[in-house]
Symmetry: C2
Subunit: 328 residues, 2 copies
């Protein structure tokens, strides 16, 4: 029996990584997801060549980014990964590209215990587009929303903020590239942060246990905090110098290559932004340490419906021209 | 608070149709799907401008097709629709296009009880691409596979086969368009079948009750039957003159404008192909009638691993050059 090109592509590259019984070896029209008594959390994020990743990015990092931007949403909702489906819109079935893409995707699926359940491969004359829908399980009625933040809660972020936008600047040959010329470790760190997010799935259970609200930071901290506050009907005051920065990012801010405003509006961080009731904060910080995830309190939830303010070391409000990345 | 263009687009067009409580009004990072004790069936299908629909197709029909190709998979698996997420890759946020697109999508979501749960809207320099992942609920361990067909089972299809490929030919100004010139009812019927599939969700419970195997016919009957037989480890013999055709399709075959081979290899039918144990067939046919879905037995499952054969009125095997549509 001669398989069609599409079937043979799927057989060669994706069947080997679709080992979950619910994937039916990709031989059926649909996959099966057992809820196992949990609620199913569903998230979907697409990445487009030239928009979310660059044409020259390696297939391995594109695969990892496509999955991880979705894993990041599951983490922020307090859900454990349960699986994903993949839609791949390709110009051509290029083995040299597909082999490393599928291998890296399979690697990540294994590391994050998030099996490939199914997908669709279509041809497109346009840019490579990868759309993933990921599923997580969360105990019934325990999903963490954006809308639960209360006045007095601490505002917390994981990891460091702003690295990815600097990495993108480097890949585009911008001012950051010249400022860091020769510092290979810094260049690699920032580019790596743009290409391969580090979703904080290790923190999911801790978020579920302690956070009043949470979301992932994908479109820029300033804009995403604005969304969280709007959903919760509150405002927030952030101490900008307290925002955690990587060593290279801190250096670039110190020598005025970039302003802090750029770091908090750039997007692609895939860190978790959450609010923690003050009385829970110590327990939260302890549990986060146990989970191996760095967390930093950067401000407080306040009453009102004003746009959250970011204050500098002198207590002056930063003027932010644009709060977040938008496609349109 | 000024919303970004992307947020405002979502607020204007998609919030009004995301009325399910699990969608959280599209104000969160993820949606919630309650399994309610069922297994969750997951299917994903993307449609690309210029590949699965034409640039000139109305936004309403594009919306309906995007959702319905997924509903068709749920029906074939015996699942009741539970919801869907949408990824829309757009060149621009064009209100005149988005308004009717979202309205038609909302209509179909309501008619098929398949609520919009979430999505992602991204910009693309390439063709409009719509990727939908749909969910269904099926009683635990009752999903219908491709792999259960047994020797002696009847091979059955719903509706009529081959209309969509004729509709596409008409839209492209091919020979079918000239052959049917003046017969507006026929032209409209065939174009409608290409643009707006009629998924057989009314038959899902009947499939679950009686079918040994099932799938939807999306890439052409011949190729899809080949897949079902391969998954089941059987072969099949089909009486080609018994394949149900619409009046216009039958006329075009009778006057030799097209051959039956074109109709069974063209794809885009979105009918259900299933196998029914002979002893179940009467009960199946009765239940299908009650559900209001036309079903036709077209052949039998036979032993062996030969490619299924399609026999003409004289018992001669049809030579099929290409069994199904493939993207690559």
């Amino acid at each position: 029996m001669t398989a069609s090109g599409e079937d043979s592509l799927i057989a060669r590259y994706f069947k080997p990584i679709a080992t979950d019984p619910g994937a039916f070896s990709l031989d059926d029209d649909a996959a099966l997801l057992k809820a196992m008594g949990a609620d199913i959390v569903v998230t979907t994020d697409a990445i487009v060549e030239g928009v979310h990743f660059l044409s020259g990015d390696p297939p391995e990092t594109i695969a990892r980014k496509a999955l991880r931007v979705n894993l990041s949403d599951l983490a922020a909702k307090g859900a454990a990964p349960a699986g994903f489906v993949l839609t791949l819109a390709l110009r051509a079935a290029d083995d040299a590209w597909l082999r490393p893409f599928a291998a890296a995707l399979g690697d990540d699926a294994k590391s994050y215990a998030c099996p490939l359940l199914g997908g669709d491969t279509v041809s497109t004359p346009g840019p490579l587009t990868i759309s993933i829908t990921a599923f997580g399980r969360v105990p019934a009625n325990k999903v963490v929303h954006r809308s639960g933040a209360q006045r007095g809660d601490r505002v917390v972020v994981t990891g460091t903020i702003g690295d990815a936008v600097l990495g993108l600047d480097i890949l585009k040959g911008g001012a950051v590239a010249s400022a860091l010329a020769g510092d290979d470790a810094a260049l690699q760190l920032l580019v790596g942060r743009y290409r391969v997010p580090q979703p904080r799935n290790a923190l999911a259970a801790v978020i579920r246990a302690h956070a009043s609200a949470a979301m992932d930071v994908s479109d820029g901290l300033a804009g995403d905090l604005t969304k969280l506050c709007a959903a919760s009907g509150v405002s927030a005051a952030i101490h900008a110098p307290g925002i955690p920065l990587s060593r290279p990012a801190a250096t670039l801010v110190a020598n005025r290559t970039v302003g802090i405003d750029r770091l908090i509006t750039g997007g692609d961080d895939y860190e978790i932004l959450c609010t923690i009731p003050d009385a829970e904060f110590e327990a939260f910080a302890r549990d986060a340490r146990k989970a191996g995830v760095a967390v930093t309190a950067i401000g407080a939830v306040i009453a009102g419906n004003a746009i959250p303010s970011f204050l500098d070391a002198h207590g002056r409000e930063l003027a932010l021209k644009r709060r977040s990345w938008s496609h349109f």
